[in-house]
Amino acid sequence: MATQWTPTSAGSAGSTPEPGLEEQGFLVGGPGRAAEVAVVSLVEASAARISRGGLVSAVGRPRAGTSPLGSAVLRRLPMSLGDVIIATASSAEAQSLRQYLVGSGLVTPPGRRQGMRTARRLLIAAAVATVVATIVLELPFWLALGAVPVGVVGAIVLGRAGRPLTARGRDVVKRLKPLAVSPNRIALVAYYGLLGKVERHHVWEVLGIGPAAATTLRRRSNRGGSNGGASCGGGCGSCSSSSCGGSGSDSGGSSCGGSSCGGGGCGGGGGD
């Protein structure tokens, strides 16, 4: 099974290619968003269909030219829309995509983010401790006076350095918004996510996905947990729920495996 990421867009020789749609989705909304893009791309290419109840199934046999993330989706079908997005977001292919974007200088390496977060916490703790010590131990007041701005400025600097996307990655995201317009259906998903809104309509509505299918999706928290932290350019993307939309092929009705996604478990752009 090939999980090595291959850029989905062409670029000029010797330069980093412009991100493809799945890559764009990852930059804006993390692996969950990239998985949404992969699913919708398959549907747009008539390689998969989404039922009224939200069951995603392959159309015919797998075909050549499918992206690694698209292959990860197809391998899991049939599955409810929400569950296939969750499962694909945590796939080896999604990890490979993250590594590719880190290597491209668009996503902050997870280790560096973690380091920045730790340093920020230590700095804030040190500043608070200094202020407390100044008061309790009656130290010179200039110590507290200096610790507060150092702590605040340092926290801001370290916080910015620990953001999910690099400056280049953020620049790419800024350029995406004008491209995310209705005729460009997959770009809409990449930028806004299926649960995002465009002109007061959910993107899933714009795409013609039924309400029952949309109920299998769950909004992901903007604030990432240990894995989260998307740049969320246009409203944070959707993750999924464990609910299954009316499929059912057995006499006992359908049951879909549970899934969990709370607290940023499905990640955001550049999360680890």
Partner: protein, 282 residues
């Protein structure tokens, strides 16, 4: 919905004549939107065991609102089994027929359970008079509890039980004669039996009471190691359409339904298969 009307011939025999259904397709959850969008779908069939009367799929209800007949098709009554018919399964089928206002329901000429085991397959019956007696008794018991007529379908078999006393056509003809049931002729199953067991298609069609035909199933399959498998997951072979043409040469079937249960192709391919069926019907 008027389920059926008496024809002159049927009235004499106490039989009911199925109204024209047209060309349809099996409704499956994976392709619900496809079925809704396909042009010229006159009726659909649902697998009865997959639906719950209390919460029918939105798509099925939408089709009913449009006036599309929805026919429940059962796979688990095990009417040919030596054990009594499961009243709960019959009741479910009947309730579903009423909920969907279906003109008729159907199952298979087979058994699926025995000795507390469920085979998971539609097992062929020995074509003996003893087996026919058992089948007839079970069919009559089921009919008593069903609110609409029952149609029974010929199955695809990979073996013929030994010591058969009747051909498949004779077996079905006598079943109809003794129970007044309708027939659901699956031309793909008939083709499979012709390929694998040497069933004479023309003789089968000549022997069955085509005036009792409710509708026809068409499906795809593939050959694997010399055996034809009625997979419902492959394209319909031209040879299966040839069997449909042979049937059409004898009778104008009230309905013909395309069955597809896996590896669902693109909408256009399903539409093309329906068009091919219409072309055979003329």
């Amino acid at each position: 919905m008027a389920a059926a009307t008496r024809s002159t011939e049927g009235e004499r025999k106490g039989w009911w004549h199925v109204e024209k259904l047209g060309v349809g397709i099996g409704w499956r959850p994976e392709i619900d939107l496809t079925v809704e969008r396909l042009p010229g779908v006159d009726f659909v069939e649902v697998v009865a065991e997959n639906l719950h009367v209390g919460h029918l799929p939105e798509s099925v209800l939408l089709l009913r609102e449009r006036g599309v007949p929805v026919l429940p098709h059962a796979v688990s009554l095990s009417l040919g089994g030596a054990e009594p018919v499961d009243a709960h399964r019959v009741a479910h089928l009947g309730a579903l027929a009423e909920a969907l206002d279906a003109p008729l329901v159907s199952d298979h000429v087979c058994f699926v359970r025995a000795g507390g085991l469920d085979s998971g397959h539609l097992m062929p019956l020995p074509r003996t008079r003893d087996a026919l007696d058992v089948l007839v008794a079970n069919v009559k018991a089921a009919q008593q509890d069903l609110p609409v007529p029952l149609a029974l379908e010929n199955v695809a078999a990979l073996l013929d039980w030994p010591d058969g006393e009747l051909t498949e056509g004779q077996f079905l003809a006598e079943l109809v004669e003794r129970t007044d049931c309708h027939l659901l002729v699956d031309v793909a199953n008939l083709y499979a039996n012709a390929r694998n067991l040497g069933t004479d298609v023309a003789r089968f069609l000549d022997e069955i009471p085509l005036e009792r035909l409710a509708y026809v199933h068409v499906a795809g399959g593939e050959e694997n190691r010399g055996v034809y498998h009625d997979t419902h997951a492959h394209a319909v072979l031209p040879e299966v359409l040839d069997v449909l043409a042979q049937l059409r040469a004898r009778v104008d079937p009230p309905g013909v339904l395309l069955e597809r249960d896996d590896d669902y192709p693109a909408d256009a391919e399903l539409a093309a298969e329906l068009a091919a069926i219409r072309a055979v019907l003329g």
